[in-house]
């Protein structure tokens, strides 16, 4: 079973990379962008076949390693 996770920076954490990407987009003529925030995406292929159990395991992985909860939020986006 494959599970995807998106990690994003929390709202009040400065994201200098997102800012620079925003500036670059602006310079390229994409003038209607309000803000860019950069994040991370993970695909986890697990042996677990029960979606609920797999999701719980991935949530534990997020809390223990994949995300740093001081600055980041995680979102488990799908299980298939």
């Amino acid at each position: 079973m494959k599970i995807s996770v998106i990690i994003t920076l929390k709202k009040d954490v400065l994201d200098p990379q997102g800012k620079v990407i925003h500036q670059a987009l602006d310079g390229m003529g994409f003038n209607d962008v309000n803000e860019v925030r950069q994040g991370k995406y993970f695909e986890i292929d697990t042996k677990e076949t029960n979606p609920k159990k797999a999701k719980d395991k991935v949530e534990e992985m997020c809390k223990k390693l994949l995300a740093n909860l001081v600055i980041e939020n995680y979102k488990i986006i799908d299980a298939q």
Binding site: V13, L14, P16, Q17, V20, L65, L66, N68, V70, I71
Partner: protein
């Protein structure tokens, strides 16, 4: 006095730290990250470098390596643990000190000498130190100290700020903040003050003919405090 320096894959200041500790009288042992037990030590050092290639987040992979459980137990039982640069990042990732180190505000790798002011001398690291201001070297890409408002309040209430970036006279102001750290924080303690994480490298300032001597002041004082 016995010390131990942990080497992770990608550490690159481990030997400098070994040289510095030995120069000022420590009997130092190098410890590999896959070892399980720490040798008997009065001080454990997590050195600078790029452990695990800075994958995921700086210090995050190293904080889960085998030896770290022993380091965490050692720290929780009152043992002195010092993390320099990447070592500081490993300390925050392992939860031994609060907060996190973000990418530098202006996205530059910073490599230069800075001045830091010692904010708290009521601990085994800085007790009796003759100087209030030290000139030390920094070299990092992720040294922008960040914590939540609640954490900052707790850190300030418990006097956990160890050193702040400042100018030659000790003025702690924004122009002397190299990386965007909250309150110019360059180093912090855990609540009990036995764990110290800091971005500057004292081990790079132990020879006046090569760099400077303020690291010597730090190490000489440290070993005297431990005796």
């Amino acid at each position: 006095m016995k010390s131990a320096v942990i080497t992770f894959p990608g550490s690159n200041c481990d030997r400098d730290m070994d040289v510095a500790l030995k120069k000022f009288g420590f009997n130092n042992k190098m410890v590999w990250h896959q070892d399980v037990e720490l040798p008997k030590s009065d001080l454990v050092v997590l050195p600078g470098g790029f452990s695990y290639g800075d994958y995921l987040r700086c210090g995050s992979m190293a904080s889960k390596s085998k030896i770290m459980q022993s380091v965490i137990n050692f720290a929780n039982s009152g043992g002195m643990v010092m993390g320099i640069c990447n070592g500081f990042q490993i300390l925050v990732e392992s939860g031994l000190v609060p907060g996190v180190l973000l990418r530098n505000k202006y996205l530059e790798f910073i490599c230069k000498n800075v001045y830091v002011k010692i904010s708290n001398k009521d601990n085994s690291y800085f007790k009796n130190i003759s100087n209030n201001i030290l000139e030390l070297h920094i070299a990092h890409n992720e040294g922008n100290y960040f914590c939540t408002k609640d954490q900052l309040k707790e850190i300030e209430d418990n006097a956990q700020i160890a050193i702040n970036y400042c100018d030659r006279e000790g003025k702690i102001e924004e122009p002397f903040n190299p990386n965007g750290s909250i309150k110019n924080i360059a180093g912090i303690f855990n609540k009990e003050k036995n764990v110290l994480g800091m971005m500057p490298h004292p081990e790079r300032m132990i020879d006046p003919s090569l760099s400077g001597d303020d690291g010597s002041i730090f190490f000489k004082n440290l070993i005297n405090n431990l005796k």
